[in-house]
Structure formats: structure tokens, C-alpha cells
């Protein structure tokens, strides 16, 4: 510590030391920006959620207290959207974890061409979500899409299918597009964790006579736990809030098959122009996300 900041003998440390104040000055820009674009909007969002604010009648905005929350939480449609969101997120995160693990295992091997594969891996990550959505919409196209084309050529189907018009499949097809884009980041996180596993662990296991498969299950997988927790935390937050694919691929349809919470917030707010309930829903989503990340971080312990 810098000498000037040491407390003088017999006296308590001043409330604001020299270091404290220079740190505060350096943090001021970030604090100002984050207050303006994050903290204040979050507080304001809660304030709005206490009013019956409808842009269809902007001059009468009655205070309704927590009524919007009761409206949202007692609405069966909201809970249906929640269960679809959970379904979408759980499927996506599971698929992302498994595929990313396979990719990480491949890229952890030493072989010519590994560098090229690592570069290729970044392509889905860099692609804008909108372009990703457009790409999959075209692949799933019922008349000219690649999915129909390839399944038909391989004789898996005998007529072209309306993929996104099938309520049983829609959510999973959107999840597939989401997974494709999210795998790279998850794979990179797992790969970095994998590289940090000490080589001694493997040689020790080898000495003990463990074969490749046993080494994978007894050394690699347990050591990957922090990496997996990170992937699960990050990807479930991404999946819960995801909007772009739903907007472009299905607009919540067919019927309500892909009507997830993020889509519901958008419809309630910007199509029904009901800002009060929209804000209440956003708040519920934000709190649920925070609670989820708290639980995951707690179970991570002090590992990360």
C-alpha cells in the first residue's frame, strides 16, 4: 500500500483516503454511464409497472400499485409462456453443453488443421442474430428450403413439410437455430477449462491403469465442472431473454407454439401498447434471471 494512505499512528483511517478518492474519480465515468443507462431505467421500470400506462390513452395514467403484477401472475397465458421459455431454455442449454463438449474435445487434440477449425468455429458466433434467423428461416422454408430438399432427396420424407407451421416442432426448430449460434462460445469456455487441467492428473490416471474412456469420466468431466457451470449460467440467461429468432422465424406462432416470455413482453408493450403490464412482466423476468444466476453462482462456490 502507498505510504500516504497508511493510517497515522493512534488515529483511525480517514473516512476518505487519498486512494479512495482517486479511485472514485476514475470510476465516475462508468458510474455515471451505468446509472443513466442501467440503474435508473431499472428503477424507473419498476415505477412504470405500478401504473396502468397504456399508450392508447396516454392522458389517463392511474396508479394501480401492484395490480399489474397480479394481472400478469394470475394470467394462464403468462404461465404458458413461462413453461415454453423453460422448455426452450432447458433444451437449448442441454444441447449446447453436449455439442460444445464434443467440439472442445476435438479442438483439444493436437492435429494439423486444428487452427483452421478454431477459426471456422468463430463464424456462427460472429454472425448477427438477425442474419442467423434469416438463414434458418430459409433452411426451414416449406417450399424451397434446404431441410425439405435434403430430407426429400434422402427419402426420409415423401412430401415437403411446413416445418415452422407445426406446433409440435416449432420450439425445437428455433432452439436448433439458437444452439448453432451459441455453441462456439460454450465450446471456447470448455476448451479453456480443459487446457487448464494439469497433465499430472492424466499421467497419474494412466499409471493407475485407467483407459481413455475412464480418464474422460474420472478426470476430464469432473475438472470441467466450473466451465460447465459458466456455460449453463450464461447460456440459460441468453436463452431466457432471447427474442430475435422468435421475431423473425415465427412471431410467436403457429397458434401460440413459440409464444415465450420475451415475445410476450414485446407484444404486450409494443403491439398492445400496454406499458404498465409490459414493465411488470419485464421486472418479473429480470428478477427471475437474477435469482437464477444467484443460485448458479452460489453453487459454483468460490471456484470462479
Amino acid at each position: 500500500m502507498h505510504a500516504a494512505t497508511l493510517p497515522q499512528s493512534g488515529r483511525r483511517k480517514p473516512w476518505l483516503s487519498h486512494d479512495d478518492s482517486s479511485a472514485f474519480i476514475l470510476l465516475l465515468p462508468v458510474a455515471a454511464v451505468l446509472f443513466a443507462v442501467a440503474v435508473f431505467p431499472i428503477i424507473y421500470s419498476f415505477y412504470i409497472s405500478l401504473f396502468d400506462l397504456k399508450l392508447t390513452r396516454p392522458h389517463r395514467v392511474p396508479f394501480v400499485g401492484l395490480d399489474n403484477y397480479f394481472t400478469v401472475l394470475t394470467d394462464q397465458h403468462f404461465w404458458d409462456a413461462v413453461s415454453r421459455t423453460v422448455m426452450f431454455s432447458v433444451t437449448s442449454v442441454l444441447a449446447i453443453s453436449v455439442i460444445a463438449l464434443l467440439v472442445a474435445l476435438l479442438l483439444n487434440e493436437d492435429f494439423p488443421g486444428r487452427k483452421l477449425l478454431s477459426a471456422v468455429l468463430l463464424i456462427p458466433w460472429a454472425i448477427p442474430y438477425v442474419a442467423n434467423a434469416l438463414m434458418w428461416k430459409w433452411i426451414y422454408d416449406s417450399n424451397y428450403g434446404a431441410l425439405n430438399g435434403i430430407l426429400y432427396q434422402l427419402d426420409f420424407i415423401d412430401r415437403y413439410m411446413v416445418w415452422l407451421g407445426d406446433s409440435d416442432k416449432t420450439l425445437m426448430l428455433i432452439a436448433n437455430a439458437f444452439v448453432w449460434k451459441e455453441v462456439p462460445l460454450a465450446a471456447i469456455l470448455l476448451l479453456v477449462t480443459m487446457k487448464s487441467i494439469p497433465a499430472d492428473l492424466y499421467s497419474a490416471a494412466k499409471v493407475d491403469g485407467a483407459n481413455g474412456l475412464r480418464r474422460f469420466f474420472h478426470v476430464t468431466l469432473p475438472a470441467l465442472k466450473p466451465g460447465f457451470m459458466l456455460v449453463i449460467l450464461y447460456e440459460s440467461m441468453m436463452a431466457i431473454r432471447h427474442f430475435d429468432l422468435f421475431f423473425i422465424l415465427t412471431e410467436g406462432g403457429p397458434a401460440d407454439a413459440s409464444h415465450v416470455v420475451a415475445w410476450r413482453i414485446y407484444v404486450e408493450t409494443f403491439r398492445n401498447l400496454s406499458f404498465g403490464t409490459g414493465a411488470a412482466m419485464s421486472y418479473i423476468l429480470a428478477i427471475a434471471t437474477l435469482a437464477l444466476s444467484y443460485v448458479v453462482i452460489r453453487s459454483l462456490g468460490k471456484r470462479v
Binding site: L26, L121, A131, L134, G278, A286, S293
Partner: protein, 314 residues
């Protein structure tokens, strides 16, 4: 003795071959999984509408052409982008080129301006904050870290309602500034975390030595740490740029006309219209992915280190 060692050698050679074969197959599956969807998008953008709508699909264009891209780049020439001229030039093609095709390049310009502005603002606020968080032991340091962390956990969809009302009240709807301001909420926390984790790796002695030599905090930061932090500054700039370039939800809320619409918005607007030429929509998609993909591949080293640093911290 001799036979058993030769069996062992043969066994090892077999294992080695199996490993090579396994890696080759795995690499092929990997390449197919990652590249096939993109390849199909690119292939579609180079086909005539008639070829594109054939059943089964033409996987590799027999007669590739760049008409769809030409339309985008010569789009201020209004004549070329109408339904009729398209039809006259190519009777086989169905689907029309929308008049908003001429907005694609300006939208790309908008995306570029917004992204660069967001990068600059990120650098300005994140560098001092990260230096303070990494190198100064001050009261409330942990609280500050958690405070910044929490703003990153809040879903952006939870912010759209207050954002929309503010932007409207400030009279900033349909301006680029509305996007620059709101994108800060999404990018700044991540930038701070990338930089903090990088600064923390740099030895504290550097800081002390500079201070003993009479540098102020600000001088230490700009003269000693900033040059050393170049790699993480590159990573931070890339993330802020790509996030802004790719952002859709907030742009959808705040932009209404070509004055402020970004590339994702224009591209998305094509997908909802069933009469627009498929090959043209795919060309627009290709145009939207080229800049970010090129950046990602050129700077992949920085991206990987930045992602892991930012993610592990955040």
C-alpha cells in the same frame, strides 16, 4: 519376446491410425455442422430465382451471378430495383427486389457509425474504471464490482420500456444517438470485466514503481498500463463493435426510418415480406454477415482471450 513386442508395436500403430481416422471424421462432421448452413445461404444468394425455387434445390449454383449484390450497390439508381425491370431483365425470376434495397448501404453506414461511437465511449469509461478496480485498494471496491456485474445480468428486454419512454421524452426516437446511448448498457459492463482481468495480471510493482517515480494515478494509467493493455483494448473494441453491429431488439424499438435504421433492421424487414425475391433476401443476409465474420477471423486470438477473461470474471 520378439513377437510380443511386435504385437505391441502393431497394436500401437493400429491405435494411431484409428486416432487419425477418428479425428478426420470428427473434423469433417464439425466443418459440415458449422459451415453447411452458411454455405447454403451464400449459395442461395448467387442463384437465379428460378434455380433457387427448383425442387430439389440446386446445392451448388450451376450459373452463379452477382445480380443481387449489384442491385444493392447500384441502388441509388432507382430504375434497377423495381419489380418491372427485374421482371423484364429476367423473365424466369419470381419475387421482386424491394424498393428498400437502396437503404441497405446507408443502413450499413448507420451500423458502422453507431458501432464506432460505442467503441470509443466504451474505451473512455472502461479504461479508468478497470484500472481503479484492478490496481487501487479502495473502500467499496467489491461493491463496485458487484454493482457492475449486476447491470450485466439484467435482460435488455427488461430495459426496453423505460428506455423507450426516455428516448421518446428526450426527442431522440429515430436517431443514431438513441442507439449509441442504449448500447452502452449492454457493452460497458463486459468491457470493464475484460480490462479488469487483464490489468490484474499485470504486476502491482509496475504501479508502485511509476508512483515512486512521481507519476500521478492518471499518468500511471495512461503511460504505463495503457500501452501494456493493447491486446485487451483490441478485444474490448471488437466486442463492443460486434455487439452494436449485431444488436436488433433496441434498434427495432427506436428506429423508424432510413435515417437511423441499422443493417439488422433492414435485413429483418425483408424477411416478413413473402413477395420479395429469395435470392435477394439471402444476398442481404450475406452482406450482413461479411463484416463481423471477417473481423472475427482476423482477430480470433484477441476474441478467444477476451471471451474467456470476460466470461470468467463476469
Amino acid at each position: 519376446m520378439a513377437t510380443s513386442s511386435s504385437t505391441a508395436r502393431r497394436k500401437r500403430a493400429l491405435m494411431q491410425n484409428l486416432r487419425v481416422l477418428g479425428l478426420a471424421i470428427a473434423s469433417l462432421v464439425f466443418l459440415l455442422y458449422v459451415l453447411a448452413p452458411v454455405a447454403w445461404l451464400v449459395s442461395s444468394s448467387l442463384q437465379q430465382e428460378a434455380a433457387l425455387t427448383s425442387v430439389p434445390p440446386q446445392w451448388i449454383p450451376k450459373d452463379p451471378h452477382l445480380d443481387n449484390f449489384r442491385v444493392i450497390f447500384s441502388a441509388d439508381d432507382q430504375e434497377r430495383v423495381t419489380y418491372e425491370t427485374r421482371r423484364a431483365a429476367d423473365p424466369a425470376s419470381g419475387g421482386f427486389i424491394p424498393s428498400t434495397a437502396k437503404n441497405l448501404l446507408p443502413a450499413m453506414g448507420n451500423s458502422f457509425i453507431v458501432s464506432v461511437a460505442v467503441v470509443i465511449l466504451n474505451l473512455l469509461v472502461a479504461v479508468p474504471a478497470a484500472y481503479a478496480l484492478a490496481k487501487i485498494r479502495f473502500r467499496g471496491r467489491n461493491a463496485s464490482v458487484y454493482g457492475i456485474l449486476i447491470t450485466r445480468v439484467i435482460p435488455d428486454i427488461a430495459l426496453v420500456v423505460p428506455f423507450f419512454l426516455f428516448i421518446r421524452n428526450l426527442g431522440l426516437l429515430d436517431t443514431l444517438s438513441s442507439l449509441v446511448i442504449t448500447y452502452l448498457a449492454v457493452t460497458v459492463p463486459f468491457s470493464v470485466f475484460i480490462l479488469v482481468s487483464y490489468f490484474e495480471q499485470l504486476p502491482d510493482e509496475l504501479d508502485k514503481a511509476a508512483r515512486v517515480d512521481g507519476c500521478s494515478r492518471l499518468q500511471t494509467m495512461t503511460r504505463v498500463f495503457l500501452p501494456l493493455a493493447a491486446p485487451s483494448l483490441v478485444a474490448l473494441s471488437l466486442f463492443a463493435f460486434l455487439t452494436s453491429w449485431n444488436e436488433f431488439l433496441l434498434a427495432l424499438m427506436f428506429t423508424q426510418t432510413a435515417a437511423s435504421q441499422t443493417l439488422p433492421i433492414i435485413v429483418a424487414s425483408f424477411t416478413s415480406d413473402f413477395t420479395i425475391s429469395f435470392s435477394f433476401i439471402n444476398a442481404a443476409g450475406v452482406l450482413a454477415i461479411i463484416p463481423p465474420v471477417i473481423l472475427a477471423i482476423i482477430f480470433q486470438r484477441y476474441i478467444v482471450s477476451g471471451l474467456t477473461a470476460g466470461a470468467v470474471k463476469g
